[in-house]
């Protein structure tokens, strides 16, 4: 187990800050794409790291810390999505799509920004499956287990997401 992880498990916040610096970009990218909204992504990223701090004792070093944190982030985002379903349904517009902040600073920025916006404008269910499958590399079986939908539904949502993205990007 790496030193910062061990030190953070002992309550060392400086070590945890180091872990944050190493992994915040990856977690924020996931939250931003799953939520489709920069404000929500900020809140979710904070939740993920607070949860990680609270649950560090559960991390036994059986896998890489990055993998453990990533799975925790996916679970936090999906749990929040379920809870949000009970609250006021929020319509995600293209204007809410992931901002250009860090995603589009380098070459191909405009194209990436278009794609990020298009992903952000997908319906929530289709967006979640698309992000988990095509960007994060989860299988349909894993997505089904994580989200509680059927494997067939996951495949259908992916198909729908890709179709919508192609239509939007071809306009």
């Amino acid at each position: 187990m790496s030193d910062p992880v061990r030190l953070a498990q002992q309550g060392d916040q400086d070590a945890f800050a180091q872990l944050y610096r190493l992994h915040a970009g990856r977690v924020y990218a996931l939250c931003l794409r799953m939520a489709g909204d920069a404000v929500e992504a900020r809140r979710l990223t904070q939740d993920v790291f607070v949860r990680a701090w609270e649950r560090l004792g559960l991390f036994r070093g059986d896998s890489a810390f990055a993998s453990w944190l990533h799975r925790l982030a996916v679970n936090v985002v999906l749990a929040d999505r379920r809870a949000a379903g009970r609250r006021l349904k929020r319509v995600v517009t293209a204007a809410d799509a992931p901002a250009a902040d860090g995603a589009a600073r380098d070459t191909g920025a405009a194209e990436r920004l278009d794609l990020e916006r298009a992903i952000g404008a997908l319906p929530p269910g289709a967006r979640a499956v698309f992000v988990l499958y095509d960007i994060e590399g989860y299988s349909h079986e894993e997505i089904a287990a994580l989200t509680g939908i059927a494997v067939g539904t996951s495949k259908a949502q992916l198909h729908r997401a890709r179709r919508l993205l192609r239509e939007r990007l071809e306009r």
């Binding site: 915040a24 970009g25 990223t45 004792g57 799975r71 009970r86 990436r112 890709r162």
Partner: protein, 344 residues
């Protein structure tokens, strides 16, 4: 974390997806928010040892057996097989009317003053939930690895035999995560809830805090606040009132002083939770009172506790009177079987 799939070379969309950055720089001041949340008392949480992941511990003498590895492996295989058989399919929840005619619509159950219902979780394999009159319950997720419902208002009585963390009840003020237990959960029209645990224990979760409520204890939750501090059923009335003021009404040091003064040995779990909800001199006072009522075991230091070191908090938690870890293994097993058979 997985690597993204190699896209088809002839698919422009997937080729563009492949070029998306894996990292996006978060707002520069986000760490300050995270650090503030950590500083508000959310310390690394003590974790039950692996020997009690299923809610009951092996007798201590087993630990010295030379066959421990083989025994552990056999147990894992047996439990794994039992779990697989138990969960190989997740049948839909069944709802039976136990009084009057509750309304069923859109995955929600609504009872009036004269009606009640019983939900068989995963067809009864994972337990049952009684929905009392004047309640509104929504079924959110019924999957193999997750069973989740929402209690918007009213009262439910749950007897759950599912593995820990599989069954969750969302309320307007917290998530009640089953850790192998039976409990009553009530939510009023303002979203305030009260949970009373009669077997095992329940974790109350919010992003800003967590409470672990063992059997024979209760806890309040209120929207916008971290979950309340658990208190024993037979705790002093003045202690309970002061605890509520401390948790939800900015009772501060005055309320804390009443709690500390009125606490006795059966309130050790309450005081243990307060260690993480206080700071500075207040935390030191909590430590001293808890140490007087339930002396810290070997290896637990005052410095470690005051700094909220996970090892110290976890070790002390395991030794506290009333903590789930202190029940003899046979008693845990008997309770679990009783719950399984619906005796409790």
């Amino acid at each position: 974390m997985k690597e993204p799939r190699e896209p088809g070379a002839d698919d422009p969309l997937l080729e563009r997806v492949r070029l998306l950055p894996r990292d996006i720089e978060p707002p520069g001041d986000l760490w300050h928010d995270v650090a503030a949340a950590l500083g508000a008392g959310a310390a690394p949480r003590p974790v039950p040892g692996p020997h009690r992941a299923w809610g009951f511990a092996l007798p201590p003498r087993f630990a010295s057996w030379r066959i421990r590895p083989a025994l552990a492996a056999a147990l894992v295989v047996a439990l794994g097989a039992a779990l697989w058989l138990h969960l190989r399919s997740a049948p839909a929840w069944r709802v039976a009317f136990t009084a009057g005619r509750p309304t069923l619509a859109g995955g929600a159950i609504t009872t009036d003053s004269a009606s009640a219902a019983r939900i068989a979780v995963a067809g009864g394999r994972l337990g049952q939930v009684d929905v009392e009159p004047h309640s509104h319950v929504r079924l959110l997720v019924a999957a193999r690895l997750e069973q989740r419902l929402a209690l918007d208002v009213g009262t439910i009585r749950a007897r759950i035999t599912a593995p820990p963390r599989l069954f969750v009840v969302e309320t307007p003020s917290a998530s009640a995560v089953d850790l192998g237990c039976a409990y009553t959960l009530a939510v009023d029209r303002h979203g305030t809830s009260l949970i009373h645990v009669t077997l095992g224990w329940v974790e109350l979760d919010r992003p800003n805090g967590t409470s672990v409520v063992p059997f024979n204890m209760s806890a309040y939750t209120r929207p916008g606040f971290a979950p309340g501090t658990p208190f024993a059923d037979h705790a002093d009335a003045a202690l309970k009132a002061a605890l509520y003021r401390f948790d939800f009404e900015q009772g501060g040091d005055g309320a804390l002083a009443v709690v500390l003064e009125r606490a006795n040995a059966s309130d050790a779990i309450t005081l243990w939770h307060l260690l993480r909800r206080t700071s500075g001199a207040a935390r030191a006072l909590v430590y001293l009172r808890l140490a007087a009522l339930a002396p810290p075991p070997a290896g637990v230091t005052q410095e470690g506790v005051l700094q909220l070191r996970p090892h110290d908090l976890r070790t002390w938690w395991d030794a506290l009177p009333g903590s789930p870890g202190t029940l003899p293994w046979w008693q845990r097993l008997a309770l679990r079987i009783s719950a399984w058979l619906g005796v409790l």
